[in-house]
């Protein structure tokens, strides 16, 4: 079997997917988890573009279009995730403040 660039980039894409997955599962911080999801997404996109590349003779534009769509979807969900993470964080902060206040009064 000859190793073509397709294989190399494809495997890299899969590896990135796995690395992102590991980060998603193992990292504790929310921000890090969101980063990990983005890395996973990049891995999938890389894999898709590799498929489009094929053997380099005739580029298939359909996966390119899919990746473009995917990128926009991904930035959208990242924005939502970050906004939500901000809220979770604020909430914890508020709760801390309230606890402190309660303790002070008590």
């Amino acid at each position: 079997m000859i190793f073509s660039p397709g294989h190399v980039y494809g495997l890299t894409g899969l590896l990135l997917f796995i690395v992102g997955l590991a980060g998603l599962i193992l990292c504790a911080q929310l921000l890090r988890k969101i980063l990990a999801v983005n890395i996973m997404a990049s891995g999938v996109f890389l894999f898709l573009v590799t498929i489009a590349h094929g053997n380099g003779v005739l580029i298939d534009p359909v996966p390119h279009a899919m990746v473009l769509t995917g990128i926009v979807v991904s930035v959208s969900s990242t924005a939502v995730a970050l906004a939500l993470a901000g809220r979770v964080q604020d909430m914890a902060h508020c709760r801390d403040l309230l606890k402190k206040k309660a303790r002070g009064e008590g």
Binding site: H7, L26, D60, V62, P63, A65, A79, A83, H93, L97
Partner: protein
């Protein structure tokens, strides 16, 4: 005693991580197996795309896929962006956001210089999209970047678009796309089915509007909460006390 427990906990946790790493490695092996073995991959749709390119109204293959063959995906994707804005706007912050740090005067003048340039680049990408790399997405992204810079610099240019009109502007992209798609259905009988002779012009207009909408939505996503509501965030800390009790 407690220290002992915590080390035990840490050990357990480390073991857990190790185990999941091993499983992930196995998953990778499986994926690689799926990727590498099993005959020649199919040739894809490159040829059929080329064969139909003449009817699509554009010369760029990717644009043809995005805005003609698979325009439905792109339509829905515009709605994903719109949805992102709706969700982000629905998440009002509990506490006031920190005011942006004052921006340096150098950056401010840089922004003033950069914005027209970015708009220009965006326009170029849009135009280039019909026959080479570039198109609505890329142009929209550049415009979005310009919006982000404006926000960062709190530039007076921001007030070109009154806040009241912002929701309307954000709706405009998806709405226009939808109208075009339905219009095609009413005129030609098929949803999103442009006629061959008008396809080129429809796609160009569509791209321009989509780029604008994408840019605006991206900037809005960056901006975070709904513009007129940031002032009311102050009250949220108090509301939280009640909400914890309720529900």
């Amino acid at each position: 005693m407690r220290a002992c427990e915590s080390t035990g906990h840490r050990c357990g946790r480390r073991l857990g991580s190790l185990l999941s790493l091993v499983m992930l490695a196995m998953l990778f092996a499986a994926l690689a197996w799926g990727c590498l073995t099993g005959g020649a991959p199919s040739s894809g749709l490159g040829q059929s795309v080329d064969a139909a390119l003449h009817d699509s109204g554009v010369e760029s293959r990717v644009t043809a896929v995005l805005l003609n063959y698979r325009a439905y995906d792109t339509l829905l994707e515009c709605f994903v962006l719109f949805l992102g804005v709706v969700v982000v706007w629905s998440l009002r912050p509990y506490r006031p956001q920190h005011p942006d740090p004052p921006i340096g005067s150098i950056l401010a003048s840089l922004v003033r210089f950069l914005i027209p340039l970015m708009v220009l680049v965006g326009g170029y990408l849009l135009w280039a999209g019909s026959n080479q790399a570039g198109g609505a997405f890329q142009a929209g992204a550049i415009l979005g970047g310009a919006g982000v810079l404006l926000l960062l610099a709190s530039s007076p240019l921001l007030h070109v678009l009154p806040k009241v009109l912002l929701p309307g502007a954000i709706c405009l992209g998806p709405l226009f796309f939808l109208v075009v798609a339905v219009g095609a259905m009413v005129l030609g009988g098929v949803f999103l089915g442009y006629r061959r002779e008008t396809a080129a012009i429809v796609i160009v207009v569509l791209e321009a509007v989509a780029a604008g909408a994408i840019g605006l939505s991206l900037a809005a996503l960056f901006r975070g909460s709904r513009p007129e509501e940031t002032s009311s965030a102050q009250a949220r800390t108090d509301a939280l006390t009640q909400e914890e009790g309720q529900e």
